[in-house]
């Protein structure tokens, strides 16, 4: 099956098309979405297995020879991310049944979700930088629909900001790609990498590298480009927030990883140093935000920004430990953020507010929710053997090996603040005197809690099964560390 790596892109795309034929029939929408998602999860699992067994998979569309056609490439990193996104989306689809409301379901909620997943999977899989732009646009278009769907006043205000920021960054993206093309004469990422190492990374190429980091940083929310994120993400309902928080910023992070490891790894004194400083500042800014708010959504949203900083710090170390840690932490963070957002959705559904000061004492009435939250919180902070531990361990090890002692210490210290910020939610929401709550029916509670608990359980497996997952992460990091494997897989066929 030469086209196997396209299946996780094509199946959500096809599902979205089918869904567009009957937008008003809610139960049919749900059934088709679930079937499509399960097929997509299975195909991406087979893809990951194939990539691990046979090495990097590449196909150039339309039977063109490699640097001329659009190449799609699946290495362990992209296959792992694709599988992760599919699993998370499947859980959020189930979560949406009891939370999104029939009004949104009748107005292309599920098709938009599927189109967004198409874009996300495509961006993870593509090996062509202009095609990367196209898939970014696909996922952004769908995210515009999701952020504005429902038309509440706050959503409309925030969506204008969100669309404006993304249009500006997309314009920069195209400009940068055009500059890159005028210098290297190619758009194929493997070919660009080969050409850049041949002609040497001159000044103009470093400028382009920095521009790419800025463009992806605007989408991936690094310091100081994250200004739009906290308020925009808080506007849409919780399932959309979970989808955005788990997937969208990570696409930006993935693109930065490819930029600095595959395309422009030759001037680490400038680009990687800059990335490291920015990522540390991102962590610090995220920590301040996570402690400053008494709003559930804002606390977890600022934790996204911290995680982006931690991952990019690992990438900027450019040694095996740092990169492997970054890959580990990236996938951990996708799962744990989806889980946390889904859990705060349950809390908001029960209490009817996202203000921490107005809730308390849920431990007595909802013990399962409380302990699941605690597990997720410990996983986020990286308490062994939960999922965040090993990634952070490797990132810190990488930092010490590269001689960036202070950076490593700041990353470690940030874990304490992360723990404090989420334990604060535990203390305020679950401990203390029970406060009068809006309450919710058992059916809705179960419909929301089960997918959230399943994702949290997955993060526990991710942490406990580290040894078992290690080969995937190792291979992924090895390709990041030695881009020649990637280049050979694309160009020498």
């Amino acid at each position: 099956m030469i086209n196997l790596l396209l299946f996780p892109v094509l199946i959500p795309f096809l599902t979205a098309m089918i869904l567009m034929f009957f937008p008003k029939r809610v139960s049919a929408q749900r059934t088709v979405t679930v079937i499509g998602m399960i097929a997509s999860v299975i195909s991406s699992a087979i893809l990951l297995y194939t990539v691990m067994r046979d090495g990097v998979q590449a196909v150039t569309l339309g039977s063109w020879p490699a640097p001329f056609g659009i190449t799609m490439v699946s290495d362990p990193l992209s296959a792992g991310l694709v599988l992760t996104s599919n699993l998370i989306t499947l859980a959020i689809v189930f979560y949406s049944f009891r939370s999104i409301g029939a009004g949104r379901e009748k107005h292309f909620y599920y098709p938009a979700m599927m189109f967004m997943l198409t874009g996300v999977n495509g961006a993870f899989t593509t090996g062509d930088i202009f095609n990367l732009f196209v898939f970014f646009e696909v996922l952004l278009m769908a995210s515009y629909v999701l952020i504005v769907l429902g038309g509440e006043k706050r959503q409309l205000r925030e969506s204008i900001k969100y669309i404006l920021v993304n249009i500006v960054s997309s314009a920069f993206f195209v400009t940068t790609v055009a500059m890159l093309y005028s210098v290297t004469g190619t758009l194929n990422m493997a070919d660009i990498a080969a050409k850049v190492s041949e002609i040497g990374q001159s000044g103009i190429l470093t400028v382009i590298a920095v521009m790419l980091i800025l463009v992806f940083g605007l989408k991936g929310a690094i310091f100081p480009l994250y200004f739009w994120l906290p308020s925009s993400y808080a506007a849409p309902p919780v399932p959309v927030l979970a989808l955005f928080g788990a997937l969208l910023t990570k696409v930006g992070v993935y693109a930065i990883m490819r930029t600095v490891t595959l395309l422009f790894p030759h001037d680490p004194g400038f680009t990687h140093e800059m990335l490291m400083i920015l990522s540390i500042l991102t962590v610090v800014a995220g920590c301040i935000g996570a402690l400053a708010y008494f709003d559930l959504k804002q606390i977890v949203i600022y934790n996204i920004i911290i995680a982006v900083g931690v991952i990019l710090f690992g990438v900027s170390q450019m040694n095996m430990a740092g990169l492997e840690g970054a890959v580990f932490y990236l996938i951990h963070d996708m799962f744990i953020k989806a889980g946390l957002f889904m859990l705060i959705g349950v809390i908001i559904a029960i209490t009817g507010t996202s203000n921490l000061r107005e809730m308390g004492g849920l431990l007595k009435t909802y013990p399962a929710l409380a302990w699941t939250w605690l597990v997720a919180a410990f996983g986020l902070a990286g308490i062994p053997p939960l999922s965040g531990f090993f990634g952070k361990l490797l990132i810190t090890q990488g930092a010490f090996e590269a001689g960036n002692l202070w950076g490593g210490i700041i990353i470690l210290a940030s874990s304490l603040i992360v723990l404090l910020s989420v334990i604060r939610i535990f203390i305020h929401a679950f401990w203390g005197e029970p406060k009068p709550v809006k309450g919710t029916s058992k059916q809705i509670y179960r419909g929301l809690f089960v997918p959230a608990a399943l994702i949290t359980a997955l993060t526990v497996f991710y942490g406990v099964g580290t040894e078992w997952l290690r080969p995937v992460m190792f291979d992924a990091a090895e390709i990041l560390h030695q881009p020649s494997i990637y280049i050979d897989a694309v160009l020498k066929e």
Binding site: I2, L10, M17, M20, F21, V59
Partner: protein, 140 residues
Amino acid sequence: MRSSDVIIQTTTKVVFYIIFLFAIHIFFAGHYTPGGGFVGGLLTASAIVLLLLAFDIRTVKKALPINYTVLIATGLVLALGTASASILFNVPFFTHAYDYFTLPLFGETSLHSAMLFDLGVYLVVVGATMNIILSIGSDD
């Protein structure tokens, strides 16, 4: 906007077909020369917009009872279906096939599977353009 201008309505009835036929010409010309599904679709949409200007939305909806959202979905399925045929033959995605056939009236003609993909693009462009124009235009 209500308009009952006899001249524009009469002209439109003729010009609509000219634009539509030209759109089909551009669509087929697109295989080797400038043109194709995208431009053809835009031209067709502009012909329908001309109808909207000359008559009103209700009349045009009666004459062309098309659900443009379904049109987009049909176009997407057609385009993706054509591209996906390559999966069955286990060649890289989007690989197109063509051959020469002798057809009555046309003589020897080359038929390309890429044309079906372009037809999908055409339907998507018509559907999307009309959706945008109708959702702006019907909002008063």
